[in-house]
Amino acid sequence: MVPLSSYLILSAVLFTIGVLGVLVRRNILIMFMSIELMLNAVNLALVAFSREFGAVDAQVFVFLVMTVAAAEAAVGLAIIICLFRNRKSVNVDDLNLMKW
């Protein structure tokens, strides 16, 4: 059995890559994909815990996280379409109207 720690480290690595994506990229679409990547990393950790402790509850959480991710993707992409329609840009540096 691959130890739990290996799965958790992989999950941490994927999460960090997602964080880096949000920090480094200026394209709002790719930042959004990085958020999906982070959600996936958390899902992996939850499923690994589920196997380690024989608990099905964690899998229910993963199921709910996927539902929230689907809703988030739908609404977020609608917002991106609106933004692009008004600003003709997907670069977050151009969207500084509410910046202090």
């Binding site: 739990l4 690595v13 994927l14 890559i17 994506g21 394209n27 790719i30 196997r51 024989g54 670069n91």
Partner: protein, 175 residues
């Protein structure tokens, strides 16, 4: 679990971990969003295979159908709908920001690894009888989902409905 099974699991984990990590790095480093989306699909598929190795076949199927299927197709739809030209990808030249992001990302990873290490060693003495842990089949999952977690499950349907309405209200030009 026999020894060949065990070796097989190690092999699958190693390959899929490498594929997932490399594809994830390509997601955030490639310039073209379409290519990024395709690499994200590859990451999700390799995670689905890891779910299979972790005895979660239902989640593996959902991962492919919902994530790699529905959500990523939505992404590609929007990317192609926006019809970005090369110059609209925007400038990505912020060397200082990139340097500090990588530096602090690395520190964040060390922090997470330390937390995992400390957390795991704190319950190191527990007794896990590997045989007693029944594989979480679809029946067990359904049993828990429709009894104990019935209310969150129903709430999820309301959430999806709100998301549908919200997406249409925002994306439609004139209602």
């Amino acid at each position: 679990m026999t020894e060949t099974d065990e070796n097989m699991e190690y092999l699958i984990f190693s390959i899929m971990a490498i594929v997932a990590t490399v594809c994830a790095i390509l997601v955030i480093s490639h310039r073209n969003p379409v290519v990024s989306a395709l690499f994200l699909i590859a990451t999700m598929v390799s995670l689905a295979i890891l779910f299979l190795a972790l005895n979660a076949p239902f989640l593996a199927a959902i991962q492919i159908i919902v994530y790699a299927g529905a959500i990523m197709v939505l992404f590609l739809f929007v990317i192609m709908l926006l019809n970005l030209r090369k110059d609209e990808f925007g400038p990505e030249r912020r060397k200082a920001q990139r340097f500090f992001a990588v530096l602090f990302g690395f520190l964040f990873l060390i922090l997470l690894a330390t937390a995992i290490d400390v957390g795991l060693s704190s319950f190191g003495q527990r007794e896990v009888a590997a045989e007693s842990l029944s594989p979480a089949g679809v029946e067990n999952l359904a049993q828990v989902l429709f009894t104990e977690f019935l209310f969150p499950f129903e709430l999820a349907s309301v959430l999806l409905l709100i998301a549908i309405v919200g997406a249409i209200v925002m994306a439609k030009r004139k209602l």
